[in-house]
Amino acid sequence: MNTSAKKKVSVATVWLDGCSGCHMSLLDIDERLLELAASIEIVYGPFVDTKVFPEQVDLTLVEGSVSSEDDLAKIKKVREHTRVLVAMGDCAVTGNVPSLRNPFGTDKILRHIYLPNAPTEIVPRLLPSVLPVHQVVPVDIYLPGCPPSADVLYTALVELLAGRTPDMKDVTRFGK
């Protein structure tokens, strides 16, 4: 066993208001995940059991827009404890599909969907409008795409792990 191995980079993934497609794309990295596993450790996210966001995380990938009070509290906490924050996918970068409700307003949408039975307890209250992550907390890296492909996420991770800023503009865009 190699005892002189470098300390692994801690990586968290966060799922706000999105369809989980970006996380699926992340899994779609397939066997290259094993290669990544040699240098990273997933410390938080839908893929692992940890319930509390760790004190200090090197790299956090955020999927989804900020749509509820819960999302808002989560992302603020994530930012506070993360060194490099990546907006992963169109929902995090632009608001995307969740933001389709913005022109109509939250109340109207809730009434339209739930009639008089809109939930007011237990579930988090929706914000007046859906926001991209960078309009709530500072974002370091933007990876547009719906979802960004496995190749895009893999390449971006490799670049980030090498200490470089990934330039993904030739391989991904809004809607791709």
Partner: protein, 239 residues
């Protein structure tokens, strides 16, 4: 072109170029293989200089000039790319994205949209200004086409092609500033617009998913504006 044109010599991006005096900076730059982003311009239509993406720096002139409507002049020194121009162009795209409701992932023009393509090409990967998220209507009253105002960037290509090429002038602009929008006839539903010949030219020249053929799903709307220069040329020969 029977009358001989004067030749003008100018410098674009440090390169000596010669041009006919009737040419614009944009035309000459394109002939030289220099890429300038454009959205409102389309070969075969009149120039309006509306989108401002082709703004260039001209030595000795304090303000930026739109290359599509600025004629070449003798001794002109033009800069088509600089840190400042790149920044302005990205900002212009951000403002376009923030002004309407451009959600690429659920757009029929996804993958075939000039706005989306330019955002990628110019490296605009997020919008720094708040989204306006305006409440805009979709007009699906026409039998064959749909107008989705959410995705309109007011380039006026539809207005110009309908007026200048089809000769119907069904489309026009109404309102001012941020309230501006394209309308059909006297602001009637498109399906009721008596002047519309249903030729579909407006759909083919629209750079985004604002004007589309009915029955197209996400990413299925491919536009074919290439008929325009051909039409323009053959008509020019007639007169």
């Amino acid at each position: 072109m029977s009358v001989a044109e004067r030749v003008k010599t100018l410098v674009i991006d440090g390169q000596n170029v010669s041009a006919r005096e009737s040419q614009t900076i944009l035309e000459v730059a394109q002939e030289e293989g220099i890429f300038l982003p454009t959205l409102c311009r389309l070969e075969g239509l009149s120039e309006v200089g509306a989108c401002r993406l082709c703004l260039v720096e001209v030595k000795g002139i304090n303000k930026l000039l739109p290359a599509c409507v600025t004629r070449v002049e003798e001794g002109m020194e033009v800069q088509t790319h600089s840190e400042r121009l790149d920044r302005y162009r990205r900002t212009l795209l951000e403002l376009l994205f923030a002004e309407g409701n451009h959600i690429c992932s659920v757009c029929v023009a996804n993958g075939h949209c000039e706005l989306q393509t330019l955002a990628q090409r110019l490296g605009m990967d997020h919008v720094r200004v708040p989204y306006r998220s305006p409440r805009r209507k979709v007009d699906a009253s026409h039998a064959r086409f749909t107008f989705d105002a959410n995705r309109c960037i007011l380039c006026t290509r539809c207005v110009r092609v309908c007026d200048e090429i089809e000769g119907a002038h069904t489309w026009d602009i109404m309102g001012r500033g941020v309230e501006s929008r394209v309308i059909t006839d006297l602001n009637e539903p498109w399906g009721n617009a008596a002047s519309c010949t249903s030729c579909g030219k407006c759909v083919q020249v629209c750079p985004t998913g604002a004007l589309v053929e009915k029955g197209k799903a996400v990413a299925e709307s491919v536009k074919h504006p290439d008929f325009l220069p051909y039409l323009k040329r053959t008509r020019g020969q007639q007169s």
